[in-house]
């Protein structure tokens, strides 16, 4: 869920790319060139008034361009040399810690890697590693589990943040609203380890609060953490508990951008709370909904391995083992690198394809996509 909030900001960041106006500093000869190319007279303030100064501040408001016109690329690169030098550390970090592993993955996936053998000496095996994904019944099971758990997460976790956002948005008792918000955002900042500790405190068989309560009320204890029936509800419930408040912030942001006059007008026209939600609130958060859905669908092959890795145990492998946990336990733990890499890339490629498709649909339906 956190990656979703990451990306929504990235998405918003991107919308700034389309601003038609630029502000920047351009040399005087460029102003002349710009005049020539656009064929229009620049506003007088654009030349800064005093042409005697070598360098002028120009507002290219009317030209609608992203770069100074007419300057050859080489010259423009030379002029920004200092910026490229400043960027070198950033580029190195991204290349070494992001792109190198992608490249390495795409090479290694076509090789058979053995322990003690480097990447370059390993023999090429073509598509063998990908074939092995679908020949190994355990891997097939993890893919099925992954998709099932992702869909359950989507089904149960989708509405709560929206409901919460509408509740907070419509609440008139401001003081309670603020306290309540403070409380529900909090779990987002806990690690999955801590969340598991809390779940353990509540649901463990021997000493868990819920089980002690059940026993005191005369019921049987339930082995929540060890039963295949309860594992997924616990997993998804705790996920919702952790991310619901945080997820609502995105919708809140969309709701606060709505003109309050709309609600006031609706009230005057006699629209009740439900009608206002249906005709104002929901339509105004539709782009965010489309955005969240797109990303969720793109992540369908990622079922939250970091959470499951700490929640699961051998008793529930059957319903809990997902791609990420399998990659860590078997791929990395038992040195089945080839299949592990193939599954990982399979996840990424499928995810990317789904995001592109989702983005296309979202653009058609909601009029706005991720990019």
């Amino acid at each position: 869920m956190f990656i979703v909030s990451y990306l929504i900001r990235a998405y918003r960041a991107n919308t700034y790319e389309h601003e038609p106006y630029i502000y920047g500093s351009v040399r005087i000869e460029e102003i002349a060139l710009a005049k020539h190319v656009s064929g229009s007279e620049l506003p007088s303030h654009a030349t800064g008034g005093d042409l005697a100064e070598g360098l002028q501040q120009v507002h290219l408001g009317t030209i609608k361009t992203r770069k100074p016109i007419g300057v050859p690329l080489k010259e423009r690169i030379r002029r920004h040399r200092e910026l490229y030098i400043l960027f070198i550390p950033v580029a190195i970090v991204y290349i070494v810690f992001r792109y190198w592993e992608i490249g390495l993955g795409f090479v290694a996936v076509f090789k058979e890697m053995r322990i003690g053998q480097g990447l370059w000496e390993s023999p090429w095996v073509g598509m063998r590693n990908f074939q092995m994904i679908f020949e190994n019944p355990n891997v097939v099971r993890t893919i099925r589990n992954t998709i099932e758990i992702s869909l359950y997460r989507l089904f149960w976790g989708f509405a709560p943040p929206i409901i919460l956002a509408v509740v907070f948005h419509d609440m008139v008792w401001m003081r309670f609203k603020r306290i309540s918000q403070t409380l529900v955002y909090l779990p987002h900042f806990f690690s999955w380890v801590v969340i598991y500790g809390i779940v353990f405190a509540l649901f463990s068989t021997g000493t868990g609060f819920v089980n002690v309560l059940l026993e005191n009320l005369g019921f049987q204890r339930i082995e929540f953490l060890l039963s295949t029936r309860w594992f997924r509800p616990i997993l998804i419930g705790s996920d919702i508990w952790k991310t619901m408040g945080w997820g609502s912030i995105l919708y809140m942001a969309a709701l606060t951008n709505v003109d309050p006059g709309l609600y006031e007008a609706a009230v005057i026209d006699g629209a009740g709370p439900l009608k206002r939600i249906r005709h104002i609130s929901i339509p105004s958060i539709l782009p965010v909904i489309a955005f969240v859905l797109t990303l969720t669908i793109g992540n369908i092959l990622r079922a939250g391995g970091e959470q499951i890795l700490i929640f699961y145990n051998e008793a529930v492998f059957e319903v809990a083992d997902v791609i990420e946990t399998w990659v860590v336990r078997v791929g990395l733990g038992r040195f089945q690198f080839g299949v592990g890499i193939a599954v990982g890339l399979f996840q990424s490629v499928v995810g990317l394809i789904l995001i592109v498709i989702g983005n296309y649909i979202s653009r058609r339906v909601a009029g706005r996509g991720i990019w």
């Binding site: 990451y6 990306l7 900001r9 990235a10 918003r12 960041a13 500093s25 501040q57 690169i77 200092e82 910026l83 400043l86 550390p89 950033v90 970090v93 991204y94 070494v96 810690f97 190198w100 592993e101 992608i102 390495l104 993955g105 509740v167 907070f168 609440m171 008139v172 309540s180 529900v184 909090l186 779990p187 900042f189 806990f190 690690s191 999955w192 380890v193 500790g197 405190a201 021997g206 000493t207 609060f209 002690v212 005191n216 082995e223 995105l250 942001a253 606060t256 609600y263 009740g272 970091e306 890795l309 051998e314 008793a315 990659v327 860590v328 990395l332 990982g344 890339l345 990424s348 990019w371």
Partner: protein, 294 residues
């Protein structure tokens, strides 16, 4: 939102949403209170009440004392604090450099570089390739494996970039007139002006570093280098599977385990709770940052 006094249907609606918010708030806070309560309960009281304790009658710090006697806790605490200090600091430097450079709209190739950075959020090489890269770089079983891979934080960089772009143009332009170089503008103008954004992004980096344990599991087998969350994980999962069998264990042993586990959880949360007021001040701002248009 609405400034009128609710009446009739509106009043019922307000009561309804109040109840929803109340239930959600209680469900958010109750488990935390419970964990804190158990961690403060003495062994005797737990047994006497058959583990049904919401808040102890005589709070005791026994569990914390026993935990503090464990040198592994202190060692891991040092690691966690070190990575939560060094990591965000270096991340901020990289982010500030990248964000400033990419905020200059005339930069040739700016759009392509941005695409490459956003791409890293959508596509990863996978766990095993990352493991292999760390092995090639000799970072396995090293403290720096916690720091370097977290430097390319695309989200933070983008938030910072927007913030710098939205700074008043006149400020940076006035520096142009004085003939300032980009390096000077970055150090003397962009960084001081972008302090709120830097604080927000830095605090999120602290949260990420404090809560991280996955990298320790993957890349570090030496337990001396494990951060607190990893030790906490081991404490919690070591015998979770035998939880049922614990019924056979003597009460004293069982209680020891329970209240100490809860004490460890509390220690794992505590820094986040202390940071939370600041986080809350900044994170709403951080999320809203992108939606505020000039």
């Amino acid at each position: 939102m609405m400034s009128f006094k609710p009446r009739g249907t509106e009043l019922y609606y307000q009561i309804f949403i109040f109840i929803i918010a109340l239930v959600v708030s209680i469900s958010a806070i109750f488990p935390l209170m419970y964990v804190l309560g158990v961690s403060l309960t003495s062994t005797n009281e737990l047994i006497r009440n058959n583990y049904f304790v919401i808040w102890p009658t005589q709070p005791t710090l026994n569990a914390y004392e026993r935990m503090a006697a464990n040198p592994a806790i202190w060692r891991s605490l040092t690691i966690s604090v070190a990575r939560s200090a060094i990591g965000p600091f270096l991340t901020l430097i990289i982010m500030a450099l990248g964000a400033y450079v990419l905020s200059v709209r005339t930069l040739p190739g700016r759009k392509q570089i941005l695409m490459l950075i956003i791409f890293t959020m959508l596509f990863t090489g996978g766990l095993i390739p990352r493991y292999l890269v760390m092995r090639q770089l000799g970072l396995l079983n090293s403290f720096w494996v916690y720091i370097w891979p977290m430097l390319p934080d695309a989200f933070g960089l983008l938030v910072l970039k927007i913030f710098i772009e939205n700074l008043p143009d006149s400020l940076l332009e006035s520096a142009d007139i004085d003939g300032a170089k980009h390096t000077q503008k970055l150090v003397y103008l962009a960084v001081p002006l972008a302090k709120p954004a830097l604080a927000a992004v830095g605090m999120f980096a602290i949260v990420n570093h404090w809560n991280a344990w996955f990298d320790a599991l993957l890349f570090v087998t030496r337990s001396r280098l494990h951060p607190l969350q990893m030790v906490l994980r081991n404490v919690l999962t070591s015998d979770a599977f035998f939880d049922a069998a614990q019924n056979v264990l003597s009460d004293a042993v069982r209680t020891n385990v329970v209240s100490m586990r809860m004490a460890t959880v509390v220690v794992g949360i505590l820094p986040m709770l202390m940071l939370y007021p600041f986080l809350q001040k900044y994170f709403v701002h951080g999320v809203f940052l992108g939606s505020v248009k000039e």
